[in-house]
Amino acid sequence: MKRGKATIICEVKNGSYSQYPVPENKTGTYVIELLTKRILALGASQQGQFLVDCESYLSHPQMGTTKTVHILHNSEQPASVFSILESGTKNIHVIADGLFDLLMMKLSQHYTSKKQTKIESKGPRFELGDFCVKLGSVTMNQNFKGILVEVEYRPCVMANAVWGLLREFLQGLLGPTVPVQPTQHLMSRMNEIYTPIDTIYQYLEHFSAYRKVTGMRNN
């Protein structure tokens, strides 16, 4: 398995902005612009855009218990297709090349796509020294759902070793009161070598949470 870089994905919740109260009607672009201004003030430079998308397929009821396959793409790994099969307690992932998408189309008899749950996070990508910051606005079927901030510390390959640094960086960016929590998946892999699939798992966990709530995810 290839080594990756320790990455943390944090969700920006509107309520947690104590210092900068966000106006109710222009949340998405406003927050992104605000964060962009802040990160540029830190000396970062914008390096293009990024996109992480996720589409979920449900297995046909005739095949026994219904299973879900999530197909994700990450613009950081443009040649790869990540697929995660949810089967009860255990998740099985497969990383394949671009032809996997075509294979899924062939399997449409057995796995039906839930088009209305196609979800993606996209936005600008910044580089600041060893950090790579991505500000993604999450949309499901063109409906704005929230904002995910991804921070990557490129020299380190183990999340545990750099967790404090990442949290400090994020809190410096978003505000000191923002709670920064690792996702469940990352929790279990804190002392392992970080791989690109770990990023995908984190995104999937956040995406699944977004799907469950209707409308904006404010708490």
Partner: protein
């Protein structure tokens, strides 16, 4: 018409040859399938042409009309050639029209009211059998004469060949075909000496023609050297642009003001005008090989020149005439020149050859020239040898690394890295750079080894290196003590001396009291730091202190206890204090015996250990 002789023609049983591979194998076209054959034959049917007189008459009358209508029909037919049966359909349609007109005529004639058919008296054919017989006889004799003349010529040349022991044209042609691609075009035999089949994409062709050498020339050549190998009955004609000798010359040199003029003349003059002997005398194998080499060199140079123009280096590469100039390292230039002498400009001044020939020849770099040839051959090889797709249904073309990139989740930087391909020029510049760096480091190592006599510095260079990576092993040791201590590489040689002296001390049973590689005391050194160590003799009564400063050298001090010069004073009265070590006294190392520093130290330790 009366003189005509029927000749039957039938198609050969063999299939048509599609391709002749360069090893002489012939690849046949697959025979047509039934439906293809039917379509082909149906295309050939000319429905308008019949033996019927009525049709002939009608055709004559309508020929002008028909040709016009045919022209009209052709244009849309040509455009709508989607349907292969189109022409057949049109012809059948015409035939149907004709048949229905005929039926109408017949039905009208049958009623005998408007038209009556009368038999016409056939014109008696005037047959004069004798004339026909004479005509045929004459035609046959003419054909026979042609055949006889041919046979006579063949026989004559064969007997002459046998009697004079001349080489056989066909045997030679067979040999030629074993190694070269040949094909017959109408009456001539042409061959191809280009590297196309080996993967070259160079646009210039390498077509040559094979002819039979005139017999007089063979006879002349045979008479001139009867003992030598028999001359060939073949004559190979190579296009003028591939004649002569060509090579790529690579030259590394210091930057000069008049680079262009100096190198152009020197490299051009080094080119031998032709191969050994005259062009006509040359065996066809050598001649073709030379021409192939010319083509290869031309391709190589054309490629390098194109790359030199495309690459944007910090110091731009220059392409002037048949020279490419590239800066390898500051002050050092790489010159790649194409030298081609096709024997047409033989009027060089011979003075120049003599004066510059000797100096120029030693300069040019055989290794880089060879590398260039190798690189282009590798490009050719890659053009024809693609990695197998994996899985078997996958796309053909991407390298193994690229096809693994997806499953291995390669990020965008790695993918970008994979898509980069180094050009030939970049590779050769890298090799030249490496060559210079290696030579410089060799020089530095040798100079240090020459200057520093005491610890010997030995550098082992691997004989087999990659063109851009070298391996050197450096051993630092003292003569006679290489088993005791040996350092592979230290930045400062005195570090070796300090550690080596400690190793010798251990062997002698001395005890290391203290050592420091970076002393804080004493004057500041321009390079590195002073180092020191303190050794005590086995029974502890003698001490050796060694201090080493890179700018001064090595100083050795000794002290002993009980000190001999102890006198009770007012301050220190007790006798027991004499057991403290006395003042250190410096030893004059250069006066000591011993081959080198370690040898001297061993002698010193031995001397101090013995009970005195």
């Amino acid at each position: 018409m009366a003189n005509s002789v029927n000749i039957s023609i039938e198609a050969p049983i063999e299939n048509q040859i599609q391709e002749i591979t360069y090893d002489g194998q012939e690849i046949y076209q697959a025979p047509l399938s039934m439906s293809e054959n039917l379509a082909r034959l149906a295309q050939k049917i000319d429905f308008s042409k019949t033996e019927d007189e009525f049709c002939n008459i009608k055709k004559e009358g309508e020929s002008s009309l028909e040709s016009k209508s045919e022209d009209d029909n052709k244009e849309p037919g040509y455009q709508s050639s989607l349907w292969p049966w189109d022409s057949v359909r049109n012809k059948l349609k015409n035939a149907l029209t004709e048949v229905s007109v005929l039926a109408d005529v017949l039905s009208i004639a049958k009623e005998k009211r408007y038209m009556v058919l009368d038999p016409i008296q056939a014109e008696p054919v005037d047959s004069r059998p004798m004339v026909q017989v004479y005509g045929r006889k004459k035609a046959l004799s003419a054909a026979g004469a042609v055949l006889l003349a041919g046979v006579e010529r063949l026989r004559a040349s064969e007997t002459m060949r046998m009697t004079r022991n001349m080489p056989d044209f066909h045997i030679d042609l067979l040999r030629l075909r074993q190694n070269w691609r040949l094909k017959k075009v109408s009456n001539t035999i042409v061959g191809d000496l280009s590297y196309r089949t080996a993967g070259s994409k160079f646009s210039q062709t390498g077509v040559f023609e094979v002819t039979k050498a005139p017999e007089e020339q063979i006879a002349q050549a045979m008479s001139m050297n009867a003992s030598g190998p028999a001359p060939s009955a073949l004559r190979v004609t190579v296009p003028p642009e591939l004649q002569g000798v060509a090579f790529i010359s690579v030259l590394c040199q210091k930057e000069q003001e008049d680079v262009v003029t100096a190198t152009l003349s020197s490299s051009a003059l080094n080119c031998p005008s032709t191969l050994l002997g005259d062009g006509a005398d040359l065996h066809w194998q050598q001649k073709l090989e030379a021409a192939q080499n010319v083509l290869f060199c031309k391709e190589l140079f054309a490629r390098l020149a194109a790359e030199a123009v495309q690459l944007d280096a910090s110091i731009p590469h220059m392409v002037v005439g048949n020279q490419i100039m590239a800066t390898v390292l500051p002050g050092i230039q790489l010159l790649i020149g194409l030298c081609h002498n096709n024997g047409q400009n033989n009027n060089h001044n011979p003075e120049g050859i003599k004066s510059e020939g000797s100096s120029g020849k030693s300069e040019h770099d055989h290794v880089l020239e060879h590398s260039l040839h190798q690189l282009l051959r590798a490009v050719h090889h890659n053009n024809t040898h693609h990695p197998f797709p994996h899985p078997a249904t996958g796309p053909l073309g991407p390298s193994k690394r690229r096809s693994l990139a997806g499953p291995m989740a390669a990020d965008r930087y790695e993918l970008l890295d994979m898509s980069k391909e180094q050009s030939l020029l970049e590779q050769i510049i890298q090799q030249a750079q490496h060559f210079f760096m290696r030579r410089r480091s060799e020089y530095v190592l040798d100079t240090i080894a020459k200057e520093v006599k005491d610890p010997l510095i030995v550098s082992h260079w691997n004989a087999l290196n990659s063109p851009t990576q070298s391996c050197v092993k450096i051993n630092i040791m003292a003569f006679g003590y290489d088993a005791v201590f040996r350092t592979s590489l230290v930045v400062h040689i005195y570090q070796h001396q300090m550690t080596a002296v400690q190793a010798v001390g251990r062997c002698m049973g001395w005890q290391l009291l203290a050592s420091s590689a970076h002393l804080g005391s004493g004057p500041v050194e321009p390079l590195s730091n002073a180092s020191s160590c303190l050794l005590a003799s086995p029974n502890g009564d003698r001490m050796i202190a060694i201090r080493c400063e890179p700018s001064v050298g090595i100083q050795v001090f000794i002290a002993q206890s009980p000190r001999k010069d102890f006198f009770a004073s007012e301050l220190v009265q007790d006798k027991k204090w004499e057991n403290l070590g006395g003042a250190f006294k410096e030893i004059k190392l250069e006066k000591m015996e011993g081959k080198n520093f370690l040898n001297k130290m061993e002698l010193l330790m031995a001397c101090l250990s013995s009970p005195s």
